[in-house]
Symmetry: C2
Subunit: 105 residues, 2 copies
DNA sequence: CAGAATCCGTTATGATACTG
DNA sequence: CAGTATCATAACGGATTCTG
């Protein structure tokens, strides 16, 4: 498990995933434009890592100029519910009264 | 959202959380023994961060020798479903056939 | 277009020794 | 017991330049 969570580490991976959820397939340059803050190096690095981890699928069209698209694997898509759960956890922050109890025996 | 996810960053945070789920309350030394690979510095650092983020609750018993316990806040407990979803995602890895399609136009 | 290669500063993590 | 302080290193992220 701890090992699986490492697959999601990296500042940009979740951001990339959000763009790819729902079966979206995007070109490298589209992702660059969609995530302006990421550098080329980081974008390709995290895409490649997720590719070799079986989360992202790389689709090469042999033509010139080059065209490479990225999408999610089935397993990658399966991450969606988990991320949704995290989102609703994030949302719950508002509802909860601040809990900072110290018994201080 | 991205901001909320940062609260969970850190090599040991989720590992700590797993030990605290279900309402478990553990002493500092118990956590050290439960997670042998973590250094004292990292353990206290990540506990303190999660404490100030409202995920972990620090319970000080004023006695000698010192006794300090750690548990989850309500909001921290609320993370459980999300972590469960991640666990089942991790589990799904087995079931899924490796998807490495390349159209290769 | 879609990268690869290189240099470099920042952050995260660790080992070790000390303390109320 | 439950930390703190210090030093060292490794991992991460970014800017820039070059290429098939």
């Amino acid at each position: 498990m701890e090992n699986v969570l490492k697959l999601l580490e990296g500042r940009w991976k979740l951001i990339i995933l959000f763009h790819l959820f729902g079966g979206n397939v995007m070109r490298f340059s589209e992702l660059e434009r969609a995530i302006p803050a990421v550098s080329q190096k980081m974008l390709i690095q995290q895409l490649r890592q997720m590719e070799s981890d079986g989360i992202v699928r790389r689709i090469v069209h042999h033509q010139v100029p080059p065209k490479v698209e990225y999408g999610l694997t089935d397993w990658g898509q399966a991450l969606c519910p988990a991320l949704d759960a995290l989102l609703s956890w994030a949302a719950r922050r508002e509802e909860m009264a601040p809990t900072t109890s110290l018994p201080d025996t």
